[in-house]
């Protein structure tokens, strides 16, 4: 019941929030002519499985391509609440970089539209509930590429 209320409230606020940001950009003179914020991809971020997430992102059978993408993750994470992830690729015409964690309740962690002139490089930090695969998904020249690496999540001691 409470979750439903929150969800409705979120929906109601979301519209306002996006408008607020647009206004903010406008005020700062930052708004590109004709640029509109892409709608937050609710279906993709709510996906509970890899297949659902890939479908919601409009991905068709990504090529497994370890050579095209460098995915840097630690082999062991001392704490699952902060796992550093870096995705780099030299592919031409990169349009999008997404980061997924296959065993998380919501598998899609983040998705970035890479405008022209921005390098194919993203570093961020994700939460991991358990040892799992981190997947980097790169869209370049209309094609999808992906690479996965396992990160072991440990429980720490008293930790320095």
């Amino acid at each position: 019941m409470k979750a439903e209320v929150d969800l409705n409230r979120r929906k109601a606020l979301k519209a306002g929030g996006s408008m607020g940001l647009l206004a903010l950009f406008g005020g700062l003179g930052l708004l590109q002519s004709g640029a509109a914020l892409a709608e937050w991809n609710k279906a993709a971020f709510s996906a509970k499985s890899m297949d659902d997430a890939l479908n919601a992102l409009g991905v068709i059978i990504p090529e497994n391509s370890a050579t095209a993408i460098q995915l840097t993750v630690p082999e062991i994470a001392e704490n699952g609440s902060v796992v550093p992830v870096s995705v780099a690729s030299n592919l031409a015409d990169i349009e999008q970089i997404s980061i997924l964690v296959d065993k998380n309740p919501n598998v899609l962690a983040a998705s970035f539209v890479i405008p022209q002139g921005t390098e194919g490089l993203i570093t961020t930090r994700v939460k991991m509930g358990q040892t799992a695969n981190v997947i980097a998904l790169v869209k370049a020249g209309g094609k999808y590429y992906r690479v996965a690496k396992e990160v072991k999540v440990t429980a720490g001691g008293c930790g320095g």
Binding site: G17, F112, V113, I114, R125
Partner: protein, 104 residues
Amino acid sequence: MGNPMKIRATAKDGVTEVKILMQHEMETGLRKEADGTLVPAWFITEVKAQYQGRTVLDGQFGQSISKNPYLLFRFKGGAVGEKIAVSWVDNKGDSRTDEATIAA
């Protein structure tokens, strides 16, 4: 209005590297309090970086991004003394915009 971000932008060889640290709880909506009540989801959904009216990064976050999100990216262009602006919006409609000056 959200809490301020830390933004560091440095230009080198025609490329600007941007490091962003945001202050946000990033609640997954799955965590429970000691008394069993569910902590509602509260997380940044959209992050956008702008340089001279040009969008240099347009990102979307889900619940799995760590508390106090960190982001690093690079774009071509940008010179020392110029400004870059970063904005985020969260699922409750809160937002924040901060500016930083590109350093050497």
